[in-house]
């Protein structure tokens, strides 16, 4: 039989043999690919098939696009003073589903999903969910524990869980030393302004994200204003004790010699005495508006 006649019969043997080899290799490849993606938890992932169908194999690229959209969405909403942020979670959800290693998305979501309206979506539970997914895919990134702890502490007031989170994070040898310190503070002191200040200072220092930094800065200013006001109110009480009535203005207290000058808030505007006889931030100060926004829930 000539080679030409023989060929189809050889093929009949060679092709199945070839496929046997192909299937054997595929098994190995499946295992190796799983190892490369071992952190993925199938339960947390939402409809990966649909996403993949829409984006073919360019998942990481599509994730970046969704992440970009999330940031722009938030910025546009805030600029337009729109308080409705309900699309923020789906955008971040898809982005982190397509690319579970998209760290900036987790950190962004930690802040802006958890904070109450209008500065956030008011969904600390979703923030927690997002962060847990992030930690599953990136267990080495201890900052996510920091973010998680912050959500528990600030929005859910769950000090025990907050401490837990910080402690978990502190186990990472690369973690900053204050993780342990903060863990202890949460456990011991519960809700305290000092803790909150430390917390926000850390956030502001460690973040590269302009929006997150700004957010932290304002919170810090408000906390400082709180301190100032508490201090002022002590002096108001002193004045009331001696004068039998609350002061009408800070100037009165100044004239009474109880304070050395007119204290100003972090934005530079002098504090005023309200009609209820308590110190507060001046309406002229931008901090006044921010306070009404940031502390609406309280």
């Amino acid at each position: 039989m000539s080679a030409k006649k023989l060929a189809p019969w050889l093929l009949l043997l060679a092709v199945p043999a070839g496929f046997a080899g192909v299937w054997h290799l595929q098994g190995k490849l499946n295992a190796e690919h799983d190892a490369l993606r071992e952190e993925q938890d199938e339960v947390l992932v939402r409809s990966p098939e649909l996403m993949k169908l829409a984006t073919l194999e360019y998942g990481t690229l599509a994730a970046d696009i969704y992440w970009t959209r999330a940031v722009q969405y938030y910025g546009t909403k805030r600029l337009g003073q729109d308080t409705n942020l309900e699309s923020l979670w789906p955008l971040l959800d898809v982005a982190t589903t397509l690319d579970p290693n998209l760290l900036p998305a987790y950190r962004f979501g930690a802040t802006f999903l958890s904070q109450s309206e209008p500065r956030g979506a008011g969904r600390p539970d979703l923030a927690v969910k997002l962060l847990q997914r992030g930690l599953k895919a990136n267990p080495d990134h201890w900052r996510l524990y920091q973010d998680l702890g912050n959500v528990y502490y600030l929005e859910q007031k769950d000090f025990a869980k907050a401490g837990e989170a910080y402690r978990e994070g502190s186990k990472n040898p690369k973690a900053a030393p204050w993780m342990k310190i903060m863990a202890a503070r949460f456990m011991e002191k519960g809700d305290s302004r000092e803790t909150a200040v430390m917390l926000w200072s850390e956030v502001m220092e460690s973040s590269n994200d302009a929006a997150i930094k700004e957010n932290a800065r304002i919170n810090l200013e408000l906390l400082r204003a709180d301190d100032d006001i508490d201090h002022l109110n002590e002096i108001v009480a002193k004045f009331a004790a001696s004068a039998g009535r609350p002061p009408r203005s800070v100037r009165e207290m100044l004239q009474a010699g109880l304070i050395g000058g007119e204290p100003a808030d972090p934005d530079g505007y002098a504090y005023v005495i309200g009609s209820d006889g308590k110190a507060r931030i001046s309406e002229k100060s931008p901090l006044f508006k921010e306070k009404s926004v940031y502390r609406r829930a309280l």
Partner: protein
């Protein structure tokens, strides 16, 4: 063997002079440049965006070349009858086919390398330094090349027995289907019958699994890829190409040319 190389060398020469190739490569480099720009809008992940976009561009352009040129390799020669003079030489048909395949794979290698160089330059521009960990991007590019070789083999197979247009459609179709092999195997849907499900499942074993070559996530985030994965992917590609090209050779050897 040397006859195969003669055909390969000629194929490479002809392909390299075809200006369409240069336009495609230029376009890819343009896409990589735009990735640098996009990276600066999306905070904190410039490198991730750029590597993702760059690898996607290289993959897409490579696929276009592989499918269209791959189909053209055989169809154009049959159509234009350049084939007739060559077959009058002491050259077996399967040697001709293998030579064409080798020539196009060589062309793709050169193009992909050029685009990868562009990507690394872009990375250097953004990060101001290249570290050893960035070698993973090279591995991702190598995997893209493996994928392209398989696509070329498929394109040549189809062009041996169908029209150029159908060959392009079939090759493209197999590629897309090959991205969802795992899903095809276990498809949960109320819209298909169990028999169709079984058929799709069987099909999923015969289709080439193009997901094997996707390591964009790891490459974009700088995670290292184990050598065993690279080895297995290489073997997989060689084996699958062997199957496809053998079938193509048998068909081509029996085909009446016009």
């Amino acid at each position: 063997m040397s006859r195969i190389l003669i055909v390969a060398r000629n194929t490479f020469r002809e392909a390299v002079r075809d200006r369409v190739l240069y336009n495609l490569v230029f376009f890819a480099l343009l896409m990589i440049a735009s990735a640098v720009v996009v990276g600066q809008i999306s905070m904190d992940i410039e490198t991730v965006v750029m590597v993702s976009l760059g690898l996607s561009a290289i993959s897409l352009i490579g696929l276009l070349i592989a499918v269209f040129t791959g189909v053209g390799l055989v169809s154009k020669e049959i159509d234009k009858r350049t084939l007739h003079a060559v077959l009058a030489k002491p050259l077996r048909r399967w040697e001709f086919l293998l030579g064409k395949f080798a020539g196009l794979v060589l062309t793709l290698t050169v193009n992909t390398a050029a685009m990868a160089a562009g990507l690394f330059l872009a990375m250097l521009f953004v990060k101001h330094s290249i570290v050893r960990g960035d070698a993973v991007v090279l591995v991702a590019v190598y995997f893209i090349l493996l994928k392209l070789a398989l696509v070329v083999a498929l394109a040549m197979l189809f062009s041996c027995f169908t029209s150029p247009l159908l060959a392009i459609l079939f090759t493209g179709g197999i590629y897309v289907a090959g991205l969802f092999v795992a899903q095809l195997r276990n498809l949960q849907s109320t819209q298909i019958t169990p028999q169709l499900q079984k058929l799709l499942s069987i099909l999923s074993f015969l289709l080439p699994n193009f997901e094997n070559y996707d390591v964009m996530g790891a490459a974009a985030h700088g995670r290292s890829i184990p050598a065993s994965l690279a080895l297995h992917n290489t073997l997989y590609t060689m084996l699958y190409c062997g199957i496809v090209l053998s079938v193509a050779a048998v068909i081509f050897s029996r085909k009446d040319l016009k």
